[in-house]
Amino acid sequence: MNNDYIEKVITELKARGASDISVSHDTIFVSVESDKLRSLVEYIHNELDCYFRTCGGCDERPINGFFALYHIFGDDKHGLNIVVKTYASSDDPKFPTIVDIVPAADWCEMEAHDLLGFEFTGRRQYRLVLPPNWPKGLYPLRKEVPYNIRPKPSTSGEQISKPTNIAAIPIGPYHPALHEPEYFELYIEGEKVVDVKYRGFHVHRGIEKLGETRMTYQQINFLAERICGICGFVHSTCYCQAVEKAARIDVPERALFIRSIVLEVERIHSHLLWVGVAAHLLGYDTGFMHTWRIREPVMVLAELLTGSRKTYGINLIGGVRRDIDESKKKKALEFLDIVEREFKTLADTLLSIPQIKKRLKETGILPKEDARKLSVVGPVARASGLDRDVRRDLPYAAYKYVDFNVPVYDEGDNMARLLVRVDEVFESIKILRQLLDQIPKGPIIAEDITIPEERMAVSLTEAPRGENVHFVITGRGKPYRWKVRAPSYQNIPALKIMLNGVQLADAPITIASIDPCFSCTDRILVIRDNGEKYWLKLTHPRGGSSCPRSL
């Protein structure tokens, strides 16, 4: 990190009213009055050209009697995070919105509105996270609300709103293409999709509240691993890194190597899984079966290294619980050779099926400037021309010892997203080979783990679906606040643009092309309560109407 660049940024921020600035590792913590927030955010997002990572509310009344809101920005080029903190009094928590400057902040604000009762002035507010019949005024993330409060469950779902003129096709909540409960209502004319109404998030399980109440520090690793069943290890690694950064615990080298090895094994299995499901959605079941046959050795390899096929459970704060000895390393290299050879031939066959080529080209296009404005992450960003990869920009674990290239395509259609993922499988195999033969000797867990209170840290990892952000404020025995932002959280709003003008038959493959992991994202829920149809005008020139009044 070049310190003079940080000095320059700090002086700029100070000039714009930022106070009590502190720097730790690669993060600048800044706090600002709520009235100067918008100008500071405008400067960071536009002049510094930072991506919006996330924003999270926190009930700090027991500590200093205020409600706090943390906006987190990231500068990939310089590998820098900027956390902007604003306060609001405890009786009426009001914050200025930044949605018109940063469209991607819409959902995070609504989550804070729902879970903590924050009011955002200057925008339309709607219920986001909790089911429609959740009692008003009950904000689960506030400290006085117990984590196991249970209002009476209702079994009468609300009726699907049907605008009269356009036929509405419900895809979901239980649709064969999307093996997760999310609900897209596509308004179609003939078979062309005209508009999308999205209401999903049946998977909101109150993980963040659980992390602050019943769970202790070491138990949260197993909770973080179950945020998502496909890329769970990414979440638990990200959580461990956040706490280790906050408490300044230095993790032994060998543990970092083991973490990166298991991360890459998980990336291979996740991408192979997606390629199989994409082939199934296009009717090519033989491709699905053979891709998953090739994926099976990767699952057995994961079980060999960690003890379980999917939720590996080897991560602890300060290191890992299992070691990799010589016989496992040899077997791992064998498995990798088999997977690489077989997937090479299968990928060529897949791309030579006439139907697959015809249906994937030029469908579900996400132009580059929309991708930048919504700050989409991972393969969706790399397929639309944005060159972003946390493993290279902010290297963590053992990624600074390996070299690999990041596949970037510019078409931004479904075929580009497929090609990005296929290339990334071979990249991961290359990384794994380098990691396996550079792994150093040494302990696999740090000795004394003491976690002081009141420390803040932001940590990022590159999940198979994109950049993953964990923000932790440490407390006594358990985190005081633990905010998780999963990659699909950023990619789902981009679906509105991708699904416009797409054939109905391609809607499932387009929805699946961002590889949505709703159990990662499902701490929020988007609903349009008055059923009126809105229109997303993202590509409008700057000015009044660029605020996305819908989603």
Binding site: T155, H202, V203, H204, M289, W292, L525
Partner: protein
């Protein structure tokens, strides 16, 4: 109603009620070449109308409860419920949070309130459930294998 005919051909409707989708991926894995549940006549179907077995994964969150009840109601009798994974069998790691009802045992109480009958419930623990344990559950339902777990109460001795 008799489950006799169900033993030869089981059509499964998969409902993800808030699971972290590790179990759902293992459900798909059961159909792939290494495990191949189709040799027992198991087929994944897409509408509860065609279903014999409703496969529930996940701790049934408040948001998905109405849809789960409606899906179970619209499956023709005889129908069985398969609770897959720790989340469905006992609520999982978030069994007591504010937004989940705690798995299939609680769901059965709600179903009894709405007097929706079900002809059988099978619990398959695991986190995530191994594909082999799903096939073991299918074998148990078809009578190919016996049950291995039993309630044990042991007295602490010396």
């Amino acid at each position: 109603m008799s489950l006799e005919y169900l033993k030869k051909s089981i059509w499964v409707f998969h409902l993800n009620t808030g699971s972290c989708n590790a179990c759902d991926i293992e459900v798909l894995d059961v159909l792939t070449p290494y495990f191949d549940a189709e040799r027992f006549g198991v087929k994944l179907v897409v509408s509860p109308r065609h279903a014999d077995a409703i496969l529930l994964t996940g701790p049934i969150t408040y948001e998905s409860l109405p849809k789960v009840v409606k899906a179970i109601e619209s499956a023709p009798r005889p129908r069985i419920i398969i609770a897959l994974g720790s989340c469905a069998c006992g609520g999982g790691i978030w069994y007591d949070t504010y937004s989940t009802i705690g798995g299939v045992p609680e769901l059965l109480k709600i179903l009894k309130e709405h007097n929706i009958e079900v002809d059988g419930v099978y619990y398959v623990p695991g986190c995530p459930v191994r594909p082999e344990s799903i096939i073991y559950a299918i074998g148990l339902f078809k009578g190919l294998v016996e049950k291995k777990v039993k309630r044990k109460v042991k007295k602490a001795g010396f």
